[in-house]
């Protein structure tokens, strides 16, 4: 128990003194997971909405693929991305392995199906005639999709938070494709694993606490947007 309190105390100490390494790791976590979530948002919401509104042969199959994708094991994603990005692999020429870019790619692959699946369900839950109603008001396709997305903002934002939560806490793929390189591709989660394996439990707990604080802060902002007080 003392270990946990020590860790919490150390967490606040590190934050209060702006410990440079911790700041750098935290900022990198935010950048990597933030960018990955943003990418997953763009791809997930656009494709999710398209599949929700369209009718085409094999649609059910596509939907079940998306739903399966929501449960993709991150570590499997990491493995496949690594194999693709290897120097001698198909995408080796990009030279992206063991960089934050690779981590963004892996995390985006993990988060996108989550956002996609939730968007799909959210748009399908809207009233059936709403799409026609919006079109009858003279909206372009783009305007219509935008209005539908706004109408479904409650579940959609939940989807974004789910996607973000999934990747900010991800460690397996991040270590594999990022390499956990000090000062370069080390993020809160991978640093926690490393400190634990070194036996530095107090630092590990501190990093864990900082990660929780970061996740809470981001989600608080998103929740605020989601639950924005509607006019009386």
């Amino acid at each position: 128990m003392d270990l946990i309190f020590e860790g919490i105390w150390k967490a606040f100490y590190l934050l209060a003194t702006f410990d440079p390494e911790v700041m750098q790791i935290t900022l990198l976590s935010l950048q990597v997971s933030g960018t990955a979530t943003f990418i997953s948002l763009l791809i997930g919401i656009s494709i999710g909405t398209t599949v929700a509104l369209a009718e085409f042969p094999g649609r059910k199959f596509v939907v079940s693929l998306i739903n399966t994708g929501m449960g993709l094991p991150p570590v499997v994603v990491g493995l496949f991305v690594t194999i693709f990005l290897w120097r001698n692999g198909p995408l080796g020429f990009l030279g992206v392995l063991y960089t934050p870019t690779a981590m963004i790619i892996a995390q985006a692959i993990i988060a996108t199906p989550i956002v996609m699946g939730i968007t799909l369900a959210a748009i399908q839950a809207l009233p059936k005639n709403l799409r026609l109603q919006i079109l009858s008001l003279g909206a372009t396709r783009f305007q219509m999709v935008w209005i539908l997305v706004k109408e479904a903002r409650l579940p959609l934002l939940a989807g974004v938070m789910a996607g973000f939560g999934g990747v900010i806490s991800e460690v397996g793929a991040s270590i594999m494709v990022g390499g956990n390189i000090k000062g370069y591709s080390r993020v809160l989660t991978t640093a926690t694993v490393m400190e634990t394996s070194r036996g530095n439990f107090d630092i590990a707990i501190a990093l864990g606490v900082i990660l929780l604080l970061l996740a809470y802060f981001i989600n608080m902002v998103l929740t605020h947007v989601q639950q924005r007080e509607r006019p009386r």
Partner: protein, 368 residues
């Protein structure tokens, strides 16, 4: 009807859904400023026709012309859609304020703030919901919501206005007041309106023309009086409220009138029909008079049939009385009359109706 010309025309319209033909309308012409209602049972194709005319559904075959111009390419479809508005059975309001809802069509068109505010206020006023301006659309009653939906539609000043059973979900008082308001507004603006309903009273009240639909086809289209009183076939007849529909064969003929045998009884009607031809008689229940024997009244009614009351059904303002006179006959009587004549089930009664009150439909199909 301001009828300055044809505003909308459909030619050879066909829509297939899931392999079957759900809409087949060879020709449909709608004049500018006209109010046309589509009536028919569920699944008749009213919604399909409305959405097809609004170009929300793709045509399998045929074309639509708006003011003489074809509406078919993506570009022209989009332009056309910007000139119309549609209101559905559910209000389908957006999750924002009433003001923003009514403004949405204008915002989509990029109309500036002040013009938008002006039109929104006007329409809120028109539909009596100005006091709800800042309220969330989720927090108003069903009747208020439908008013907001109508305001939203009319704020964009459409050239054609489509309504799909807009009053069906409302309670009677809300419905009544809204129909009144809408009637007044449509008369004032002269907007071409096409609306679908399964309530023939609404249709009667608001329309310049009524189209009766079934099975994806328009069975009859014309002014209300014509459709209501001169249905072209049994289906239309029963749908427009001809409660008594009898089939029989002509046995006698005289100048301008004839007698048909119906279930062994002789019924006289007006028309030029040859002996041996099959006919269908449609009689409006309002035109059937009841007397209690042994009162003998001399009247000009040629059709007098004794019978028995099968059932009396209260219909709010009046009573529907079902009789067995050898054939089934339906009459409407006021509550007052019901009391006066002490009409009860099983009672012996005499029913009469004029030969001229019968609407005759020829059954024998002439070679086309």
């Amino acid at each position: 009807m301001n009828g300055s010309g044809l505003i909308l025309e459909g030619k050879d319209l066909q829509v297939y859904k899931g392999g079957s033909l759900v809409l087949e309308v060879p020709v449909l012409r709608i004049g500018e400023g006209e109010v046309l209602s589509l009536i028919g049972p569920n699944g008749a194709g009213k919604t399909t026709l409305l959405q097809t005319l609004a170009r929300l559904i793709k045509l399998s075959r045929g074309e639509i012309l708006f003011k003489g111009e074809k509406v078919f390419s993506n570009h022209s479809v989009f332009d056309y859609r910007r000139k119309l508005a549609m209101v559905f059975q559910e209000p389908l309001l957006f999750d924002t304020t009433v003001f923003e809802n009514v403004a949405s069509g204008l915002k989509i068109r990029g109309i500036n703030r002040s013009e938008t505010a002006k039109r929104v206020d006007e329409n809120l006023e028109q539909f009596g919901v100005s006091h709800l301006k800042g309220r969330s659309a989720r927090k108003i009653s069903g009747g208020e919501a439908q008013r907001v939906a109508l305001a939203r539609a009319l704020a964009i000043q459409p050239e054609v206005f489509f309504l799909d059973e807009p009053f069906a979900s409302l309670d009677p008082p809300s419905r009544e007041s809204l129909i009144e308001d809408l009637e007044r507004i449509l008369r004032k603006t002269g907007t071409t309106t096409i609306f679908a309903t399964h309530d023939r009273m609404e249709a009667l009240r608001l329309s310049d023309r009524i189209a009766v639909m079934n099975g994806g086809k328009i069975l009859q289209i014309g002014p209300p009086a014509e459709v209501m009183n001169q249905p072209l076939d049994e289906f239309v007849a029963s749908f427009v409220g001809m409660e008594t529909i009898l089939t029989g064969q002509v046995i006698k003929r005289d100048r301008g009138s004839f007698v048909a045998s119906i279930m062994g009884q002789e019924v006289e009607a007006v028309g030029e029909i040859g002996v041996g031809e099959s006919v269908v008689f449609c009689i409006r229940p309002e035109n059937v008079t009841l007397t209690v024997p042994p009162h003998k009244e001399s009247s000009s009614a040629r059709n007098i049939f004794p019978g028995k009351i099968l059932k009396t059904i209260p219909m709010g303002l009046y009573y529907k009385v079902q009789l067995d006179c050898g054939f089934l006959l339906v009459a409407y009587v006021t509550g007052h009359s019901l009391e006066n004549l002490s009409l009860t089930e099983g009672q012996e009664i005499v029913a009469s109706f004029k030969a001229t009150a019968i609407h005759v439909i020829r059954k024998t199909k002439k070679a086309l």
